[in-house]
């Protein structure tokens, strides 16, 4: 899998920005991507060293509209810790997506 397929987009939220200050960057990643792939993808795309990768599967919320019942898509979240002092210009990547 290509790096750009593994990393889908950065998560832009208050929480993710707070974490980013401590060098932990949050992404939405491919649901089948594993930690090693994520580590490699981030290192390749942003030219930083990755120390640690945490992942979580986020369950899609059940949604109803009238009689039709459905769920939102489930997705995978990855929080990547980079080497101390290194930064991902996360806002620039934000403009790309």
């Amino acid at each position: 899998m290509d790096a750009t397929q593994v990393i889908i987009r950065p998560i832009v939220s208050e929480k993710s920005f707070v974490l980013a200050e401590a060098g932990r960057y949050t992404f939405r990643v491919h649901p089948d991507a594993h930690k090693t792939q994520i580590r490699q993808a981030v290192e390749e795309l942003f030219d930083v060293g990755v120390v640690k990768v945490h992942t979580a599967n986020v369950r899609g919320k059940p949604k109803r509209r009238g009689f039709s019942v459905g769920t939102r898509r489930s997705w995978k979240k990855a929080i990547v810790t980079v080497r101390e002092g290194e930064r991902i210009p996360i806002f620039q990547s934000l403009e790309l997506t």
């Binding site: 998560i11 832009v12 939220s13 208050e14 993710s16 920005f17 806002f91 934000l94 403009e95």
Partner: protein
């Protein structure tokens, strides 16, 4: 978020760089560049303030980071906001950096907005500056000085005023004379019909004070206690109550009491009442205080006259545009001080019945005089190389230091740290320059003008 450190840094680091180009008519153009780090700081501040009202998914209101705001609303909009907020600061910095003394309103042109991060923002300011004076002679000038004259006459006036204040009202059985106070009940009617507000009881009135309708008080002269009188008066045409204006009215007046004002005798016991031992002591004290205040007034006038004389000897070109500029500054100041009294611009215009342009035009002579004075003083300060010493500065601070409960030296140090000492130094240097002219001037004593 490091806000505190950001502001502290702002006071230390240089914010703008300036080059100035002289123009004719005592104007200059300043080419100002807001340095990139300073600009970045104010852009971030502007983004924060925009973010206060922005709703972006993933963030609570007011918690949006500056970077997100910038990418959301666009860098240009954020720079606009930053300019709106910080241009006055940049302008003040630029003026200080260029070391000019601005007069009038600046014309500010903002150039192209920098697109990329790390580029400075340039703008130009066109502003009038205080004209330069080519000094003529400024020492040993002949200047009129009012003679200090606190004669017996003026002291008598003052004593008389005190006596009148100390006067007491005493009941009198004699008919009321002019200057007496009477107490009365009255009922007024027009064509035999009572009118609103035409009746009153226990009304106190001083005859001859002119508080009532013309003719009313005069017709009460000679009335004794308990006497009834009928008074016929005509309301003036311009009386406030319109339904009464110009009407003939009849007042039935019952005088219930007559009091005559009794002035205390001019002797030592009067002086004692005023808190002095003897009448002579009272007079001496009045003399002393009058002398002091007169002396201060004369000295201030003399100092101004000295500078005026010096500026007359000097060559100063004051272009009209500058005078206009200063005149409108004076006007703005007036507006501010009026606002402190709760009078706003519109009301003032109504009271005086003038337009703003007229008021400014009237201020022009004052504006020109003050410009000339300032130019002269600045030139003297420069030529004489007047720099106030620390000791002199501390002397000047004595008073305000006492207020804040610190020593003058401590206050001076604090002012220096805050960068506020410059202003003080300038003012003091100006005062010293005036001292110089004053001390060397040959006073030409003149009799005080009677007013």
């Amino acid at each position: 978020m490091g806000t505190a450190s950001r502001y502290r840094a702002a006071t230390v680091r240089q914010i703008v760089s300036v080059t100035s180009v002289d123009l004719p008519e005592s104007r200059v153009t300043l080419n100002v560049e807001v340095l990139a780090p300073a600009l970045e700081r104010s852009i971030n501040r502007a983004a924060d303030s925009i973010g206060q009202t922005l709703r972006i998914p993933g963030f609570r209101k007011g918690k949006v980071p500056a970077a997100v705001v910038i990418s959301r609303v666009g860098r240009e909009a954020v720079i606009d906001e930053a300019i709106r907020a910080d241009l006055p600061v940049w302008y003040a910095e630029a003026v200080a950096e260029a070391g000019i003394e601005p007069v009038g309103d600046p014309r500010i042109d903002i150039g192209e907005l920098p697109q990329e991060e790390g580029k400075p923002l340039g703008f130009t300011v066109e502003i009038g500056v205080r004209p330069e004076a080519k000094l003529g002679n400024y020492t040993g000038l002949k200047v009129d000085r009012e003679e200090l004259d606190v004669g017996d006459e003026r002291i008598n006036e003052e004593v008389e005023r005190l006596r009148e204040q100390a006067g007491r009202l005493e009941p009198s059985e004699a008919p009321a004379a002019d200057g007496d106070t009477i107490v009365m009940n009255y009922r007024g009617s027009i064509d035999g019909v009572d009118f609103d507000g035409g009746t009153g009881t226990d009304q106190v009135i001083e005859l001859g004070s002119g508080q009532f309708i013309p003719g009313f008080e005069e017709q009460l002269v000679g009335a004794g206690k308990g006497e009834d009188r009928t008074i016929e008066v005509t309301f003036p045409e311009d009386y406030q109550a319109e339904q009464l204006a110009g009407k003939d009215a009849v007042f039935a007046v019952e005088v219930t009491d007559v009091r005559t004002s009794k002035l205390p005798d001019l002797d030592d016991s009067f002086a004692e009442e005023m808190g002095y031992e003897t009448l002579t002591a009272l007079r001496d004290d009045i003399r002393e205080r009058m002398t002091e205040s007169e002396d201060r007034r004369i000295r201030a006038t003399f100092r101004e006259a000295c500078i005026d004389a010096a500026s007359e000897k000097a060559k100063i070109e004051v272009p009209d545009s500058l005078i206009q500029g200063r005149a409108s500054e004076i006007w703005e100041q007036t507006v501010r001080s009026l606002a402190a009294q709760g009078i706003n611009r519109e009301i003032y215009m109504q009271i005086t019945g003038k337009t703003e342009e007229e008021v400014i035009a009237e201020a022009a002579p004052d504006a020109e005089r003050s410009l000339r004075r300032e130019a002269t003083i600045a030139a003297i300060v420069e030529k004489e190389g007047i720099v106030p010493t620390d000791l002199q500065l501390e002397d000047a601070l004595e008073h305000s230091a006492g207020h804040e409960g610190v020593t003058p030296r401590e206050l001076l140090v604090t002012l220096r740290e805050d960068g506020r000492a410059d202003q003080l130094e300038k003012e003091l240097a100006a005062r010293l320059a005036v001292d110089l002219v004053e001390e060397s001037a040959k006073p030409n004593l003149v009799k005080p003008k009677k007013d």
